[in-house]
Amino acid sequence: MTKYIGKSVKRVEDKRFITGQGKYTDDIKMPGMVYAYILRSPYAHATVNSINIDAAKSAEGVVAIYTGADIPEAIAGVPCGWQVNFKNGDIMKEPPHPLLVRKKVRHVGDGVAIIIADTRANAKDASELVDVDYDLHDAVTDPKAAAQPGAPLVHADAPNNIAFDWQLGNPKEEVAAALASAAHVTELDFVNQRMIPNAMEPRSAIGHYDTAYDKYTLYTSTQNPHLTRLLMCAFVLGLPEHKVRVVGPDVGGGFGSKIFHYIEEALVVWCSKQIELPIKWTCDRSEAFLTDAHGRDHVTNAKMGFDADGKIVALQANTFANMGAYLSTFAPAVPTYLHGTLLQGLYTTPKINVDVTATFTHTNAVDAYRGAGRPEATFLLERLIDLAALEMEMDPTELRFKNFIPAFDGVEQEGYVTQVALQYDSGNYAPVLTRALEMVGYEAFREEQKNQKGDKLLGIGFSTYVEACGIAPSAVVGALGARAGLFESAQVRVQPTGKVSVYTGSHSHGQGHETTFAQVVADRMGIPLEDVEIIHGDSDSVAFGMGTYGSRSLAVGGSAIVKSIDKVLEKGAKIAAHLLEASTDDLDYAEGKWTVKGTDKSVGFGDVSLTAYVPHNYPEGLEPGLDFSSFYDPANFTYPFGAHVAIVEIDKETGFTKLKRFIAVDDVGNVINPMIVDGQIHGGLAQGIGQAMLEGAIYDETGQLINGSYMDYCMPRADDFPSFEVDRTVTPCPHNPLGVKGAGEAGCIGSTPAVVNAVIDALWKGGHKVKDVKMPMTPERVWTAMQG
């Protein structure tokens, strides 16, 4: 029986947040603290001739100023954590990403100097006195244009700006032959536009070098404290890892953008050693726009072929992926192993080839943004299949049902092996769409749509997806180019009084781990939830961690906790057996006590815990203490799936599109806390819908980000959405002990194409047979589509 698992337990972390006591990095103050401001390039591509800091140095409150020339040559810059090879086997181009530029700036926002002063305002004031002499050059910002001959070069040693090219799947000729003999081919050119993550807490970092202990501490708004420490120590600053503590305090959202190791983190740490003072850097929102790793930015041509019956026979996808000016930590993995590998979708497509060219441009780096690659894959597949249904005059849901992979649970039936290198763990795809159609009232909607008159157009759009999360077996990702393992660690420390401290390498930035993980621990150990404390985010207390991203925390981090609990209970049973003068085989453990089978003789968890630490009457040869660590390396990715439906209404006069309803039925495996899972879905939906309707970074041809503020970038607001209608089915993951798959990104992965498809459906039904409306689908773009 479970007391907590499956229940919407209210979050234990909320108390501090609703009373204003959350502790985010910028909230931390230390004696003697000074403040850093980073002077950034206003140009996308320029040679730095000289930097004059004389006037700035003597400005009020200035403590120190460093430029690229002050940083030792040995500190080359921040590394990339994932290696992808060219098709010909050559290693990707990996130009250094220096902490501060030495010769050339390569995007607006590239760091030129760091100014440290007694107050933030004084540091900013002084930065205006720094005189930088630039020689300007032409810039390129579009990922496809960058690869054309004659485009301005971002790095001299990356010809045609190509970072790498890559392909996966069946041979191209086989796919081409299948397309040539297909009864119908749907082809689409589209852009999956660049997104700006916009976590509400701007990034912040505090570097502190403690002379007494010769020890460094970095507080940083990160999803990933241990990896940041590893990268910074081993690959950037060359510091001894045991002398460096990295703490991620409360983190105000991340959505991917706080996974990566950023130059500012290494800079404040390095500078704090030079001046022996704690240094805080917190970015302004405008800086966040320019320097938080962006997401998406794919330019794609794709073709999907069907036989006369509507069965998919082949898929060819060709994509240019924008890397920005430098390779961010996981950037190469996003358009390749997190995108190409998902192009099977939930369909039986027998021939698939995906070809990706990743290019450098004079823009900020692009990396994982909520969903990372899987939204791009889903967008590609779901736009094509909905468009194909319109072109072939078939019902878009029927076309999907016809092509779904039949159900498999991964236990009785083998996992499904795709054409693109993965084996899905378990899936049962038809029921999510069936349930979504019920919720929509599909037939009634089509009737209403048919009878629609007047100045509005109604449309319905679908998206069914499968994604990969719980990233992932270390050996597999290693073979695919990851330069890190992707396991997770957990320590379960039982205190002498039977209270339990759990140290996890997962690191919440809003997901509610302190509650969900405690539910798992309390149930598995049969103790009250209040007796469990979840500790995360501090490299000095948590043994190791790979952090939170890729919807991996519960599937990987939770499984590591379960492993440690099993060890605790196994040892506990030995102590209990000794106290009860029984054999461990004769004991049952339930509701916090061990009982001798068939008797009422029992001993409680608290007594056993105390005995472990006061081992007077104790099993011979058994070590004292009750404290276990585990590392869990998953057997496979997990594969959640779902069906999303959007209903839109377009105003014929203005092109204004109103999202009337949004229905999401997701299957994320077993659910520990339904309230939290629903919340994750809601948030993901808003971001996915935001991409379809409102958001998108715009660089002009000189490389200026022209909508780099909240006055210009259209952040989704409360009145842009209806209430979401969500439900789920449950297909457990067969290969982790909790049967969970992960819910953090599903909403964002499924929703975007559903909205675009709804607009296209409305337009077709209104007699405008357009293939695409570019995202974000502004009223102007939708209106223009209606004029054709």
């Binding site: 502790k23 305002a121 105000g252 959202g253 302004d284 405008s286 919340g679 948030g683 993901g684």
Partner: protein, 158 residues
């Protein structure tokens, strides 16, 4: 230039010197260490810094500290009274109206003022009232539910 100001914040009187250019949001965070008021932007768009001035919701980054001289300020730290959570705080917890918590103080300060003028709002009115407050985590869904619940609790209390 330093200016002398005197403000009452969460019922406590503070007197001190501030630079003319210091924003009220910075004064609260840096001088008074009331870090529950968050700063999420530099264009007065996001609402994370929302507080009450003489009972009205105001984005504290749109005001200079000197302008608050003589005012009654309430920040999120002052929302609970005598250790009892405000119904808005309870409702955010009960309806899962927060994830990372960064937007939450501003959301609650905007919402409590809004309910004063519109104690029984429709869903659409709530959504419109939140136009100046961004949340990136929740999709606003449960924030709306939280405010609906708070409205119910508060009308039952009177």
């Amino acid at each position: 230039m330093a200016n002398k100001i005197s403000v009452t914040v969460n019922g406590k009187q503070y007197t001190g010197e501030v630079e003319s250019r210091t924003l009220l949001s910075d004064y609260l965070r840096e001088d008074l260490s009331l870090t529950g008021t968050h700063i999420g932007c530099d264009t007065s768009s996001c609402g994370a810094c929302t507080i009450h001035i003489d009972g009205k919701a105001v984005k504290s980054c749109t005001m200079l500290a000197v302008q608050a001289d003589g005012c009654e300020v309430t920040t999120v730290e002052g929302l609970a009274t005598n250790g009892n959570l405000h119904p808005m705080q309870e409702s955010f917890k009960e309806e899962h109206g927060l994830q990372c918590g960064f937007c939450t103080p501003g959301m609650m300060m905007t919402a409590t003022d809004f309910l004063k003028t519109n104690p029984n709002p429709s869903e659409q009115e709530i959504r419109e009232a939140l136009e100046g407050n961004f949340c990136r985590c929740t999709g606003y869904h449960n924030i709306v539910r939280s405010i609906q619940l708070a409205a119910k609790k508060m009308s039952e209390a009177v």
